[in-house]
């Protein structure tokens, strides 16, 4: 038995730039390997008067044998196991996490407490509306706040995540055209788009037409004019785009689309750049989805849950998904008479727990604070970009918004890849930026510092990047062998795909 997994603590102490060399050690056992027959992590309730007669009642033909391989541990063992696992993670609360397009900003801890209030966390979704007015009003207030923030007319809090928001929007676009007696088959998507955009199009039954962004990294109206025709249902544009650039011709593009009866879907995942800066509704967007787990600070939870509300202009309101909230004049209730609605995409009323957190966040910042958040996010991205320019030039000459996409010549000069740079950053206690995205930039480093990180932190990051550039030229092995200070060394992902082991099996 011995020391294993250690986690890196970022330090802001100048004197401390010696990375740590480790030797192989084993990790945390699987919960199944800690199991032993007859242990209990929860005691049987005496409430059912001792005997559990359920199996008798249902009879053997309906019942299974007792879960083979299922773990049995005491409560302290379970807790210790997962606390140990937690120590193997990097996280925004502990490390600088400039993951581009993910807006890893501070998640206020009070919001988790609020979501856990018995009046909210304990509320059953089938509770009669008149007994859940507080929850319904919270949803309604959130709809109003997001409408104001985006400059749109109506909002649905229904979708579970950004991608589901996209699907919701695209299905509405489809319904909209249908309603007007048209069937359109194509959706234009720029080459810089996030993967969920084309994937959502397919799900919504559209063919994807790819628009090329120009050398400077943005969309030209000319390109859209070239591609648009009467079979184009809509165009999906991320603004700022995934290069972190504000689409300068977005209004013209919207006009072109509208001229031809097509709609503009704006992917709002990068809304953290636009708060109080520019409203999608004013750009000509007909639909925009928001990622509450990005711009509105709900914790990302190692991959979710999030929430992907959609905001639309009046002409699309009838198509919003069910259930739709309305106010009867005396109280909030659900509107069941919505013939044109695309229907529902999940159970109940949306990811309410996330909506509560996001609403608390909006209250905390207020209109002024939201505007300041975007400005400081933009400040950070441009500061990093400017300082790293010498060795990691920006992929575009256009000004950056909340994130910047950088490239480098180390592949050529030292055969050091972007992936290796990313892994080496881990040794500095920094989570790497998004890499190899957008696809239009070879070896891209997509950096989103967010407004909640201090100048000191950005400076440390910049120093680390400079240092790695240096190492790549003078001591490439150190970069190629990174990380050296984490619970594990470089993980063999190819092997994982070659021989998939996707579950634990007894005696494995």
């Amino acid at each position: 038995m011995a020391s294993a997994g250690r986690i890196v603590v970022v330090t802001e102490d100048e004197t401390s730039s010696t990375p740590i060399r480790t030797e192989p050690v084993a990790g945390v056992p699987l919960i199944f390997e800690l199991s032993s027959d007859g242990r209990r992590g929860a005691d049987p309730s005496p409430r059912a008067d001792g005997a559990r007669r359920g199996a008798e009642i249902l009879g053997p033909e309906l019942c299974r044998e007792n879960l083979p391989g299922f773990p049995e541990l005491s409560e302290p063992q379970v807790l210790r196991h997962f606390l140990r696992l937690s120590q193997l993670n990097f996280a925004q609360a502990l490390q600088f996490y400039p993951l581009g397009s993910c807006t890893m900003k501070y998640n206020p801890v009070v919001n988790d407490e609020l979501a856990a209030l018995p009046g909210l966390a304990g509320l059953h979704p089938a509770t009669p509306a008149h007994l859940a007015q507080g929850a319904l009003e919270l949803i309604a207030r959130m709809e109003a706040a997001l409408a104001e923030i985006t400059g749109m007319d109506a909002v649905s809090m229904h979708p579970a995540a950004g991608a589901q928001g996209e699907l919701t929007g695209l299905l509405m676009i489809r319904a909209y055209h249908r309603k007007r007696g048209e069937v359109r088959h194509k959706v234009i998507i720029p080459d810089t788009a996030h993967g969920t955009n084309p994937a959502s199009c397919t799900l919504a039954g559209f063919q994807v037409v790819v628009a090329k962004s120009n050398r400077r990294g943005y969309l030209e109206a000319a390109e859209v004019r070239r591609l648009v025709d009467d079979d184009v249902a809509a165009m999906m544009v991320t603004n700022p785009n995934t290069l972190g650039i504000f689409e300068p011709q977005i209004q013209e593009i919207a006009a072109i689309l509208h001229e031809r009866g097509a709609l503009l879907y704006l992917d709002g995942a990068n809304m953290n750049a636009l708060l109080g800066v520019a409203k999608p509704g004013h750009m000509g967007a007909d639909i925009v989805q928001l990622n509450l787990h990005k711009t509105f600070s709900t914790p990302h939870g190692g991959g979710g849950p999030g929430a992907g509300p959609v905001a639309v202009k009046k002409h699309l309101e009838p198509f919003l998904p069910m259930p739709r909230l309305k106010h009867s004049g005396t109280a909030y209730e659900f509107d069941t008479d919505r013939p044109d609605s695309i229907g529902r995409l999940r159970s109940f009323h949306g990811n309410f727990g996330m909506i509560v957190r996001a609403y608390a966040y909006i209250l905390a910042l207020g209109g002024d604070g939201l505007g300041m958040a975007s400005r400081l996010a933009i400040l950070g991205a441009n500061y990093v970009r400017t300082r790293l320019q010498p060795h990691f030039p920006s992929a575009s000459g256009e000004p950056s918004m909340h994130e910047c996409v950088l490239s480098h010549d180390l592949e050529k000069r030292a055969d050091v890849s972007t992936l290796e740079i990313a892994k080496r950053l881990l040794d500095f206690g920094i989570h790497p930026p998004t890499i190899y995205f957008p696809l239009v930039v070879p070896g891209a480093l997509m950096i989103e510092p967010t407004e909640t990180e201090s100048k000191e932190i950005l400076d440390r990051f910049i120093d680390a990047m400079e240092r790695i550039y240096d190492e790549a030229l003078n001591d490439p092995a150190r970069v190629k062998n990174a990380p050296q200070t984490l619970p594990v060394s470089r993980v063999d992902e190819a092997e994982a795909a070659r021989r998939p082991i996707l579950r634990w099996m007894p005696g494995a």
Binding site: E23, L30, A42, P44, S45, R47, A48, R52, G54, I57, L58, L62, C63, L67, F70, P71, N89, F90, Q92, L94, Y97, L117, P118, L120, G122, H124, A126, A132, Q133, G134, A160, A161, L171, R174, G195, A199, V277, A278, H300, G302, G303, R344, L345, S347, F348, F352, G353, G366, G369, R375, L376, L379, R387, K423, N481, P483, V488, S489, V491, A497
Partner: protein
């Protein structure tokens, strides 16, 4: 503002480096007309204390959350959540990390997901489970799409009418863009409340793409899943089961044992609070032969350069960020932290604890029925049930109002979604209901009869 560390000096220094004078110089390139109208007209920011006061006031206006004897179910179930579950998911290392793209810095999350995948395969008796979906309804829809990828030539999707209305609606929406698909509803047996074998038999022909059956179903009835899977297979289709009350899998025969090809469900019962219906936890399990068509993220076991066991996201070539328009799904952010909660919950319950809990739920629900029968209130259906059942009540809405006055949330009127069941009330009983509540329930309903 308390979340932003920038001092005036910091801002000045950063602007100087960039070569700008004012913050707004950095957005000068944004069209002026847009900037001019961009101001957000919301109240100014508030202190933490004020935010807490505001939201607590809203929370206090949800009477439904407390003080009532609660028998609401219908897809979301009331179960006790051990504090250890909250203690784990509150860990900043889990709560504030992103999708584990960088394996070396995410072994905590990836190993936990690997454990989740394993637990789901054990519960369902299937071979592979993904890292989570949004919820049970969307997981069911993804399962149908997956079946469609498996047999692109077939067109009939048979949904049991005893599948939750919200699941059926979600599937319809997800499929709405796929013209070639035809959705048919398989009626339920008027007496047993189970999916009608006769009706299914009529549909089960060579155009059958898949069947989707609730297990237990929307009336709490334990469906003859094995028989349904057989019929589906005989017609060459894909048998899909959907489970909303996950605790049932601790006692009932596993979908995998009964021949199901894709088992999906809602994991809310595994340690997630009700929170007005979300976030929940969609799970999906299948056979290894169907692996490549599975949607959602997967974590696999591998080694690091030093030979240590390690875990990482794998088979991403199925996913949107690699495959784009040809991906198996558009899902990106999933419900990872909910999957972690479920992993902790199931580990705490353990093999015996989970079975005990399932048996206890069965026992309590049946005891409740005894009490109701004694009061002359009878079940609407005769099929075997787990912890939820439909009652025959002349006018459910009146009964519900009467019960409410007695601080009892007696259940859900099935008539809203099933016109043919305008005389039925759906009641859910869990370990959260004390036996003494059964009498109150019976009294409240009996009164209006």
């Amino acid at each position: 503002m308390r979340f932003m560390p920038h001092t005036e000096t910091d801002i000045a220094a950063m602007l100087a480096t960039i070569g700008a004078k004012h913050l707004d110089d950095l957005i000068a390139h944004v069209p002026a007309n847009l900037r001019a109208t961009a101001t957000i007209n919301l109240e100014p920011g508030r202190t933490e204390a004020d935010v807490v006061a505001e939201i607590s006031a809203l929370a206090a206006r949800n009477a439904g959350a407390s003080g009532f004897a609660n028998f609401l179910g219908a897809g979301y179930y009331r179960h006790y959540i051990p504090a250890a579950v909250r203690a784990v998911i509150a860990r900043a290392e889990f709560a504030t990390s992103y999708t584990p793209y960088q394996a070396e810095a995410s072994q905590g999350t990836t190993q936990a997901i690997f454990e989740f995948q394993t637990l789901i395969t054990q519960l369902t008796a299937m071979e592979v489970a993904n890292a989570s979906m949004y919820d049970g309804a969307s997981a069911a829809a993804e399962a149908v799409l997956m079946a469609h990828r498996l047999m692109p030539k077939r067109s009939i999707v048979a949904l049991s009418r005893a599948l939750w209305p919200e699941y059926r609606a979600t599937i319809r929406t997800y499929l709405s863009a796929l013209g070639e698909i035809e959705i048919v509803e398989v009626p339920f047996d008027e007496t047993t409340g189970a999916t009608s074998a006769v009706a299914l038999d009529r549909i089960a022909n060579d155009r059958l793409l898949c069947t989707v059956t609730g297990y237990p179903n929307a009336f709490g009835i334990i469906e003859p899943l094995g028989a349904i899977a057989d019929m589906t297979h005989r017609a060459g289709g894909v048998a899909i089961s959907a489970t909303a009350e996950g605790i049932a899998l601790g006692l009932l025969r596993a979908p995998g044992e009964l021949g199901v090809d894709i088992a999906v469900g809602e994991g809310q019962s595994f340690g997630l609070p009700l929170q007005f219906g979300g976030p929940g936890l969609g799970f999906m399990a299948a056979r290894m032969t169907h692996l490549r068509q599975m949607p959602g993220r997967l974590v696999g076991q591998t080694r690091d350069r030093d030979g240590r066991r390690a875990f990482c996201l794998t088979l991403a070539t199925r996913e949107q960020h690699i495959r784009r328009e040809r991906a198996t799904s558009n899902i990106c952010t999933n419900h990872s932290l909910c999957a972690l909660a479920a992993t902790v919950y199931l580990s705490l319950m353990g093999r015996n604890g989970l079975r005990d809990l399932a048996e206890q739920n069965v026992e309590l629900a049946h005891r409740a029925v005894e009490v109701l029968e004694a009061a002359g209130i009878h079940r609407r259906f005769s099929g075997p049930f787990f912890n939820e059942f439909a009652l025959q009540v002349p006018s459910p809405s009146i009964a519900l109002k009467a019960a409410e006055r007695k601080q009892v949330l007696a259940g859900i009127a099935l008539g809203n979604d099933y016109p043919e069941l305008s005389d039925a009330l759906l009641v859910s009983v869990t370990e959260m209901n004390r036996s003494d509540e059964f009498g109150r329930l019976a009294a409240a309903i009996a009164e209006v009869r």
